[in-house]
């Protein structure tokens, strides 16, 4: 499992080249551009851009995401999600706003709006906690290949309502009040 944390004080994005293949979890402070392949989780605090040759198989958590490559898995965006004309997305999406150009392909369960933002924030808190797992949650079948390390990808709920229901227990303190 590769675990990496980089800080970019000068604001330059971290670039993962086209000849790079990462398997595991990747946490990046700031922005990032992916031209290679990632299997597992990637979390970027700011903007993530996936180039035409980029491929992510797993979970993406980012502030904003511009997708021009291929993604199979879940996407949690606290900001905008943009699909370019060459984008190919298969999986579940949670984002604050959404745009897809003509030519892009997308298939899956999508939640856009304030509920999705709450779900994305809860998911981010879940990934940071890394130990909060409920037995009731069902992992999304077929989302992780057998070749990928099972320990590197945590289970995720299938809908925003599930995440929202778990939100008080995920967020320590629960200052926003328990709902549902």
């Amino acid at each position: 499992m590769a675990q990496q944390q980089q800080e970019q004080p000068d604001g330059q994005p971290t670039v993962i080249g086209g000849n790079c293949r990462l398997i595991g979890e990747l946490f990046l402070e700031g922005s990032a551009i992916v031209h290679g392949q990632i299997e597992g989780q990637i979390e970027v605090t700011d903007t993530l851009e996936i180039g035409e040759g980029g491929f992510v198989n797993g979970t993406i958590r980012a502030g904003a995401l511009a997708l021009h490559g291929r993604v199979e898995g879940e996407i949690y965006c606290t900001d905008a999600l943009h699909l370019g004309a060459t984008a190919n997305l298969t999986g579940d999406v949670f984002a604050a706003s959404f745009s897809a150009e003509e030519g892009a392909t997308c298939r899956g369960q999508v939640v856009i709006g304030h509920q999705a933002v709450a779900a994305a924030q809860a998911s981010r808190g879940q990934s940071r906690g890394a130990t909060v797992q409920d037995a009731d949650d069902e992992p999304i079948a077929g989302r992780v290949d057998q070749n990928t390390e099972a320990t590197s990808v945590s289970t995720s709920p299938t809908a925003a309502k599930t995440l929202l229901r778990r939100r008080p227990s995920i967020l320590s303190g629960g200052s926003r009040g328990a709902t549902g």
Partner: protein, 151 residues
């Protein structure tokens, strides 16, 4: 450089012409067979030249409570006070109110701020503005041609 100074009026008008010529008609893709063709901007209805399926191009503004199916190749607008439930097949869709149902858009779908869209959605392109919401199954670009037409 001052445009039009020292040149003929015809040259100045030619410079003002856009690089891409304006489209003479409305580009349409048949929802039944997927054949692209073009109709006049004033056309109300037409038939696909390949499969001869009839289609209408009227625009529809839906305001208030509405539970009916809408089939048109024009633009469907769900107003701010619109609460629509049903099956919609259209060319373009603009949602400012609430829309629940099965939607198939052969063009672009825009959910503006304050708009809510729930259900199964198939479109060629889509925009959900900040303040708008969408929840459901989304298919962009992959099955527009192969999807079954609305009853």
């Amino acid at each position: 450089m001052i445009s039009g100074f020292g040149r003929s009026r015809r040259e100045a008008e030619e410079d003002r012409q856009p690089a891409v010529p304006r489209a003479a008609g409305r580009p349409v893709i048949c929802p039944s067979c997927g054949a692209p063709f073009e109709v006049s901007l004033k056309a109300i209805n037409a038939r696909c030249p390949k499969c001869t399926k009839p289609m209408r191009f009227e625009d529809a503004d839906l305001n208030g409570f509405c539970t009916q199916n809408v089939t048109t190749m024009g633009t469907v607008r769900v107003g701010r006070k619109g609460v629509v439930r049903g099956r919609i097949e259209c060319g373009n869709l603009v949602v400012t109110g609430q829309l629940d149902g099965s939607i198939r858009t052969n063009g672009c779908c825009v959910v503006q701020a304050g708009g809510t869209l729930r259900g199964e959605m198939a479109a060629r392109s889509m925009v959900v503005e900040r303040g708008g919401s969408f929840e459901g199954t989304l298919e962009i670009g992959c099955s527009i041609k192969s999807a079954k037409p609305a009853a």
